[in-house]
Amino acid sequence: MSKSKQEAKIEKGRQYSPVYEKLVPIAIGVIVILVVGMLLLAGAIALDLIPLG
């Protein structure tokens, strides 16, 4: 088997440790939600939908 095919087989079974396997996608998901929320909030403030002092 060629070296690149061997490396591909190793990479296919690669995993982070169990803690990061769980936490990383949650963290990325939370960040995406926060970005969307921030953009909606900025839009609402710009359109004066949220009264401010």
């Binding site: 087989k9 982070y16 990383v24 990325i28 960040i31 926060l34 921030m38 900025a42 403030i45 002092g53």
Partner: protein, 239 residues
């Protein structure tokens, strides 16, 4: 005078300038326009924090306010995000967006330094006047620049970092860069939420958000550029 409105922004500024030094040092060693632009962005971050601390200690100064609004409120997010564009985006996007950002920055500088100011407007029903805010700007068309630059900066910096983290996670490689990018994205969001909190009259929200942001982004940068030892045993290849 309290700790949040005086020492905290100065601490943010110091961290930002130190961070900028390390980023520019890396640029000097490895080149890469993204590092240069990030370094410039972190200098802007530091200028903003310094101006906030100056106001907290010494009170109103027209030049300091204008510098704060230009660098801290308008430019910093967009320039940090532009660095990410240079790292991740394919040609010709970096070449197209950088001149636009420079032109927009010069226009913003003109608008900020020619704007009429009224420091008495810093005190409103929601704000005590102990922190800087854009309320002191009387001239129209100045404060409306801020969301444009900040939205661009948020989408590119936070979005780019989150995207990078996802790509590394999907391939299950370079864990240190996955973690580093998550920290950078979170750090970049902190001042944005701090600014929103300030708009709603939460005392100290902006300054605390900025300090948290500087710390998290600095740690994220260090994490992303420092390899971790892989602790997960790799499955043996089939014979």
């Amino acid at each position: 005078m309290n700790f949040v409105t005086t020492y905290l922004p100065f601490i943010s500024a110091v961290i930002s300038f130190i961070f900028a030094y390390f980023v520019l040092q890396r640029y000097a060693q490895r080149k890469g326009n993204h590092l240069l632009i990030w370094g410039i962005g972190m200098i802007f971050y530091g200028i903003g924090g310094f101006c906030e601390g100056y106001y907290g200690f010494f009170g109103w100064n027209e030049v300091v306010f204008r510098l704060w609004y230009l660098f801290g409120a308008i430019l910093v997010a967009a320039w940090l995000g532009q660095g990410t564009v240079h790292l991740l985006a394919k040609k010709p996007w970096p070449t197209i967006t950088l001149p636009l950002l420079i032109a927009g920055s010069l226009y913003g500088a003109f608008k900020v330094f020619s704007a009429e100011l009224d420091p008495s407007l810093l005190t409103t029903s929601l704000h005590t006047g102990s922190e800087l805010s854009g309320h002191a700007i009387v001239t129209s068309g100045v404060r409306s620049l801020t969301p444009l630059f900040n939205i661009y900066g948020t989408l590119t910096l936070v979005g780019g970092a989150a995207w990078s983290a996802w790509i590394f996670f999907r391939k299950r490689v370079l864990l240190h860069r996955t973690i580093g990018n998550i920290l950078i994205a979170t750090g970049a969001l902190a001042p944005a939420f701090g600014g929103a909190g300030s708009r709603f009259g939460i005392p100290g929200a902006l300054y605390i958000g900025e300090l948290l942001g500087a710390i998290l982004m600095f740690i994220g940068f260090w994490r992303a550029t420092t390899a971790m030892q892989q602790t997960v045993p790799q499955p043996a290849p089939a014979d």
